[in-house]
Amino acid sequence: MKKLLGIAGLLLVIAMITTVLSYDEGSGNYTFLSAYNLENLLRRLGMFGVLSIAAAFVIVTGGIDLSIGSVVCVAGCVLPWLLGTCGVPAWLALPLVLLLCATIGLWHGFLVVGLRLQPFVVTLCGLLLYRGLMRNFTGDQTMGFGDADSGLRWLATGKIPITDGFGLPVPLCVLIVVAIVTGVLWQRTVWGRHLFALGRNEEAARFAGVPTGRLTVLAYVACSLLAGLGGCLFVLDVNSAQASSFGSFYELYAIAGAVLGGVALRGGEGFVIGVVLGAALMQLLSNTINLVADSNQLEFAVVGAVILMGAAFDELLQRWLRFRGARRRS
């Protein structure tokens, strides 16, 4: 919980710095605080936040899912195809895409639990496999909606007006719903307790009668399902998807957000609120660079450096606290 306060504090500090640096002398406004910028930032947070929660589901079990970006690509290519080429109505197309993605998760779960393959290997191969299949499926053509989105785009581009100029982007609302459901699952149900127990020590959990296999499969299903949901939001947002690049590297954004938010890679630790904060920090950093620097060439470097510094600082702080505690007691 202390860790979460730390992330929230860091978020606030960077937001303030960005605000100051984004001062535009011409207009006398802080660009960062403009409704346009904030809406955009929150919209991106909504979409990437869903991916980070997806990643967290699997990381909590002690596994990893590297295929998230490729599942985003699958959703991003199949949704326009269903709506445009096949003329499937929107109310059916979205569930079909989510079902397809959940099936991918089921397949991962089967390989990890049934065949006992390493999650890293399974999902790394998934990363290559799904993107390759999508490129072939679309013939590397850009998949777009044209005018066939039948109002679905509201999910990604719409907003719920708060004041005259500012509205809450719908993807953020999607994230809030996903986060609340996930939080209740993790914190308030036996299922969640079992999931975390298995993440900490799978053998001991199994010996205690926890259905570890079934839970692990479900975690992979939840992960791919949410990745698919994220993919739908992304494609609805930009209106088209190009299989060779759509969603590429998003798994790393997702994992980084989760880990930054306190989800331990060794499994069994983490809070949903932390995941959301971690994802927010990632998006804020990227926003800062876009506002402050002339180009976003340094984006990856800055994100990498900040995460690294955060991890190092956290480790040093923990050590210092332990040391101080030990000295005080003796």
Binding site: Q187, R188, T189, V190, W191, G192, R193, H194, F196, A197, R200, N201, E203, A204, A205, R206, F207, A208, G209, V210, P211, G268, R322, G325, A326, R329, S330
Partner: protein
């Protein structure tokens, strides 16, 4: 000889050593010394500070205050390697040789012989062979450590220490995973080393080993010296007094009245021994022991009954319900509980709290939603009932001593109200005080009608607790020992398949 040894200048001494960890003062001004050619046993309950003291002496921990002296000269030991260079070697409780190395690679780890950047493999192998032979080990120095048995690995650690010219050997629970013959071989080595002037510090829970080996016995209790015994005055009761500060004679057992059959196993074949079949029954209110050598298929039977391992063939019936072997969840629902052999990896989730561990097997019976009131109730009653020593129920289970951890494992299953209780080495790594409590509790549970089936390597324990003893050999039941003719000799004979009591001689 021991008299002469004790008048000598100690090779290694700790004076007023103090060491604190978060939440505990592990060592409180402890004095300790050992002289050349002396075997000093260190006894104490788990958490008394034995391992911490040894780690201070071996350079793994630095004392907060006090000093460590070698040959009377005060030293600062910076690391285990540094300690080894000064002649102090720690033979670990949990053997952690890098098992991808070769034998000679392990013996020279950290002190490789080389010319420039190149390793002198042949020279190291030659020297390794020399030390291995001195310990009576016929192992190829080029063999992989992973191909050795546990007992051989232990000897390998000793060889490593001798190669480094160690004058002080610290052995932390060296026999906990050895077979009887390996233990005897180890004792011979210890005696031989003593004759050559090596000082040996010997930590164990097995008091009979102290009686057999030690020149002197030092007690620790709650991180403080609790006294010492010289050779002539070392006996079981005196040592227990040192450890717990009170006399704990084993409880006299009431005769039991077994009821209906609670567990029946027919034609069971396990994956480890697919060609051996096991048939056994345990009645309500009956305690059945399983004895046998390590690797004789004892644990495998418990694991198969509980459904952790899939069984090759056979039928398991619990209180009239046949188990399909779908897994622990099914077995637990039918009223079976298992205290696994490896408490740390299978019994508990060390980083989770005492409360969460205690409620884990039964939580789902209260519905889908987390019932925190129920959790607190289960934890409170188990902590009170089993006298689990913890500060609060949200303390991490891993921070408790071995005995208290075992009580948590027992407690979480008692909350599930089982019909059949399976225990695999229930007192391994558990100190005397908690041991007696566990025995007492099992006896009481049997009195209440539980069927208890337990595996133990400690014959004393098996004989004291069990109504019947099933002796395993090569995955099958070699015989049953019950009634008045129960004896350690009889069990060992069945276990080793020998016809005379001296069957241990065929070790090499």
């Amino acid at each position: 000889m021991s008299d002469r040894a004790s008048t000598k200048e100690p090779v290694l001494a700790a004076r007023r050593v103090r060491k604190a960890f978060p939440g505990v003062l592990a060592l409180h001004d402890v004095d300790f010394s050992v002289s050349a050619g002396e075997v000093v046993a260190l006894v104490g309950e788990n958490g008394a500070g034995k391992s911490t003291l040894m780690k201070v002496l071996a350079g793994l921990h630095r004392p907060d205050s006090g000093e460590v002296a070698i040959d009377g000269e005060v030293v600062e030991l910076a690391s285990p390697l540094h300690a080894l260079q000064r002649g102090i070697a720690l033979i670990h409780q949990e053997l952690n040789l890098c098992d991808n190395l070769t034998v000679s690679g392990a013996i020279f780890l950290g002190a490789e012989l080389r010319r420039g950047p190149f390793l002198l493999e042949r020279e190291m192998a030659r020297i390794s062979r020399h030390w291995l032979l001195r310990l009576g080990l016929q192992i190829d120095p080029q063999a992989k450590v992973s191909s050795l048995r546990l007992g051989q690995r232990q000897m390998l650690e000793i060889a490593r220490a001798l190669r480094a010219d160690a004058r002080v050997l610290i052995m932390d629970e060296p026999t906990s995973s050895l077979t009887q013959t390996e233990v005897e071989r180890l004792f011979e080595v210890v005696r031989e080393l003593r004759q050559h002037g090596v000082a040996i510090i010997y930590i164990t829970h097995r008091l009979s080993e102290v009686e057999e080996l030690a020149d002197r016995c030092v007690g620790l209790r709650d991180g403080k010296n609790s006294g010492e015994l010289l050779r002539s005055s070392i006996d079981h009761n005196a040592m227990v007094q040192l450890m717990v500060g009170r006399d704990l004679s084993a409880t006299a057992r009431q005769p039991r009245n077994p009821g209906d059959v609670a567990l029946s196993v027919r034609g069971l074949r396990t994956q480890a021994f697919p060609s051996a079949t096991v048939d056994l029954t345990v009645r309500r209110g009956e305690v059945v022991g399983i004895a046998g050598l390590l690797g004789s298929g004892r644990s495998e039977v418990l694991r198969a009954v509980f459904g952790v391992d899939a069984r090759v063939a056979g039928e398991v019936v619990v209180a009239g319900n046949s188990l399909s072997g779908a897994g622990p969840r099914q077995a637990a629902a039918a009223g079976v509980a298992l205290l696994p052999e490896d408490r740390k990896s299978e019994g508990l989730i060390l980083s989770m709290s005492v409360r969460e561990n205690l409620s884990l097997p039964t939580l789902h019976r209260r519905g889908r939603w987390l019932d925190r009131d129920y959790e607190r109730k289960v934890a409170a009653s188990a902590i009170a009932d089993l006298a689990i020593a913890c500060r609060a129920d949200d303390q991490a289970a891993g921070s408790l001593s071995g005995g208290n951890q075992q009580k948590i494992v027992l407690g979480k299953w008692l909350a599930a109200d089982p019909v059949v209780l399976l225990l695999d080495e229930p007192t391994r790594g558990v100190d005397v005080g908690a041991r007696v409590e566990i025995y007492r509790r099992l006896d009481e549970l049997a009195g209440r009608g539980l069927a208890i089936l337990f595996v133990s390597s400690e014959l004393e324990e098996v004989l004291a607790m069990a109504d019947r003893v099933l002796v395993f050999k090569d995955g099958a039941i070699a015989g049953e020992v019950a009634g008045d003719d129960r004896s350690e000799e009889k069990i060992m004979m069945l276990a080793t398949g020998g016809t005379t009591a001296s069957s241990g001689a065929s070790a090499q």
